[in-house]
């Protein structure tokens, strides 16, 4: 099954990836061939099978709701691309 250019573009929007027209063509071909391989899963009857989301049978792993200090107050600053008055600075969110 071949992914259309439109489908590829829609997925790119969902994934927040800006891709070129050339990449649309390339991804369409490459992803289609992988999806074709994935189609083999339809050979199996899995109606009566429970899905496995995790190999360990753990559920609801909690700890006591007590605040702990893990990082220093300034730890986030070292890797921040830009900052302003103790906040991460980003481009404008709302267009005029």
């Amino acid at each position: 099954m071949k992914l259309t250019a439109e489908q590829v573009r829609r997925v790119a929007i969902l994934a927040k990836l800006r891709i070129s027209d050339e990449e649309v063509e390339q991804f369409s071909n490459q992803l289609s061939s992988v999806l074709e391989n994935i189609g083999q899963l339809n050979e199996l009857d899995t109606d009566a099978v429970e899905p496995t989301s995790h190999s360990v049978s753990l559920a609801n792993v909690f700890r006591i709701d007590q605040a702990e200090t893990v990082f220093t107050e300034d730890a986030w600053k070292e890797n921040a691309p830009t900052q302003y008055l103790g906040h991460f600075k980003v481009p404008k969110i709302i267009e005029e």
């Binding site: 992914l3 489908q7 590829v8 997925v11 790119a12 969902l14 994934a15 927040k16 990836l17 800006r18 891709i19 990449e23 991804f27 490459q30 992803l31 061939s33 992988v34 999806l35 391989n37 994935i38 189609g39 083999q40 899963l41 339809n42 199996l44 899995t46 099978v49 429970e50 899905p51 496995t52 989301s53 995790h54 190999s55 360990v56 753990l58 792993v61 700890r63 893990v70 990082f71 220093t72 730890a75 986030w76 070292e78 890797n79 921040a80 691309p81 830009t82 991460f88 980003v90 481009p91 404008k92 969110i93 267009e95």
Partner: protein
């Protein structure tokens, strides 16, 4: 008993021999660390196994270790120089995941395994190269350039832990840690002729490991010998409250059962793992392992894992889907690369991810996003999760009859650089023998079992049931001794 008269260089020692030598005062950590750093300088430009070498930090840690040892400290890794895959957070030491996205990222904390290594006194000499964000089987997708196989520089070292495997094979560190999501420890270990162990899912904490596919990722040792693997497992295995998927099962002493032999053990040979199109030399060398185990007293049984062929299609839905979620955090806001094409927030996100990620990462994010999107979730993701149950049940059924399974790690030896990089699907198929172990969550260990006529290593893998790493190590150790192939080295 360690006889240093026959060992010409410190860097040729295994981790276990290194610890013996340090404990008996034959050499200091400063000497052995310097030996590795010098060798990295003279050899690594051929291989490119290290992304970051922390010369100053390593020598400081080495001198500290010597001082502590003189003061009576006896950490199990005190003074041992290790390399760590560059997706493990190391405080104040650049951690890049071999991606432009994290090229200059310096973590403010240590991963749990790094904390454990430091508590045991290890010296971290640097961070090793990998496929970008652990997505790959050849280390060719690294933003820092590919790593070459030390046995043949025209070949890949395997991936995604290619840097770790190549560094151990070329004697650039005493041992290393890698990670394995679909085979990324075992497959490069097989390509490079070293030992690689993927623990049971949940056995080793993932806190501080950059996530790729959260239900599959595991950290594990890549080492020169099976015993070294057990030594590292003793340090890194165990429950960690900071990882909510960390198994509560108590860790054990993984060296305890190494010498028990395989007399009377039933070992299964899964017929679906000997595939058409596999290299005949690989098949012959693994068959030799099976014959060797028989000579050592094991009872060999043929078993069937009927859903083996669904490994690649199942994995390539689940892993990219989980990756698309895990990599959503790379948006240029709080850390990492930020694009300068940022008129508005939306374009900043899009362009940061366009410019910061390589093509394989983008491919998998796209695949994962598609598989999870409305209208496709049931057909792909849910379906794959159900097939995952069938794959797991295959193994559980087999382990009712046998204590361990033996199979090749890879159907071939290391392929050439560039041979599969234009064909993603071909690349994915090279993991066909390792993937199901991750999907099931059980442990697997790959050991070198010979060299092909072209001079390339071949790996055999021992697969065991949940939390039975000791059994796997025991079979592997028996095989390693009986084959007499301990520490084969490329001449680099």
């Amino acid at each position: 008993m360690l006889n240093l008269n026959i060992m010409s260089e410190f860097y040729e020692l295994s981790l276990s021999q290194t610890m013996e030598g340090l404990a008996s005062g034959k050499f200091t950590s400063e000497e052995i660390t310097k030996s590795y750093l010098d060798r990295i300088e003279s050899v690594d430009h051929h291989i490119n196994s290290f992304v970051t070498v922390d010369i100053e930090g390593a020598m400081t840690q080495a001198r500290d270790a010597d001082r502590k040892r003189a003061g009576g400290d006896t950490g199990s890794l005190l003074g041992a120089p290790l390399g760590l895959k560059d997706l493990l957070a190391t405080k104040n030491l650049r951690t890049t995941c071999s991606s432009k996205m994290l090229q200059d990222f310096v973590p403010p904390y240590d991963a749990h395994v790094v904390t454990k290594l430091k508590e045991a006194g290890a010296v971290i000499i640097g961070k090793t190269n990998m496929d970008e964000f652990a997505m790959g089987s050849s280390t060719e997708s690294s933003y820092m350039g590919p790593t070459k196989n030390p046995w043949d520089l025209s070949k890949i070292p395997g991936g995604s832990s290619g840097g770790s495997a190549a560094a151990v094979a070329a004697d650039l560190c005493a041992a290393s840690l890698g990670s394995d999501t679909g085979g990324s420890i075992r497959q490069p270990a097989s390509c490079c002729g070293v030992v690689g162990l993927k623990p049971t899912y949940g056995r080793v904490s993932r806190f501080g490991m950059v996530a790729f596919a959260s239900s599959l990722d595991q950290i594990g040792p890549i080492t020169k010998t099976v015993k070294d693997s057990a030594l590292l497992m003793n340090v890194i295995a165990g429950h960690d409250p900071m990882d909510s998927t960390s198994a509560p099962e108590l860790a054990e002493d993984y060296t305890k059962c190494l010498e028990k032999g395989v007399e009377g053990l039933s070992i299964g040979v899964p017929k679906e793992y000997f595939i058409e199109g596999a290299d005949s030399e690989v098949t012959a060398l693994v068959q030799n392992c099976i014959d060797t185990l028989t000579k050592e007293g094991a009872i060999i049984k043929e078993v069937s894992l009927p859903h083996t062929k669904y490994a690649v299609p199942t994995y390539y839905v689940l892993a990219p889907a989980e990756a698309s979620s895990n990599l959503a955090r790379y948006d240029g806001v709080r850390y990492g690369f930020r694009s300068s094409n940022d008129d508005n927030l939306e374009s900043m996100y899009d362009n940061t991810r366009k410019e910061g990620f390589g093509p394989e990462v983008k491919r998998r994010i796209m695949l994962g996003t598609y598989a999870l999107s409305a209208g496709y979730y049931d057909a792909y993701y849910l379906k794959a999760q159900k097939v995952r149950t069938l794959i797991r049940m295959d193994f559980l059924k087999a382990f009712e009859e046998v204590s361990a399974l033996i199979a090749p790690t890879m159907p071939t030896t290391a392929f050439s650089v560039g041979e599969k990089s234009d064909n993603p699907l071909q690349m994915y198929l090279s993991d066909i023998l390792t993937i199901n172990v991750n999907l099931a969550g059980i442990p697997g260990i790959s050991i070198p079992c010979g060299i092909s006529s072209a001079g390339l290593p071949v790996g055999a893998q021992i697969i065991t049931n949940f939390f039975e790493e000791s059994m796997g190590l025991r079979v592997a150790n028996t095989l390693e001794s009986a084959l007499g192939l301990t520490m084969l080295r490329p001449s680099i």
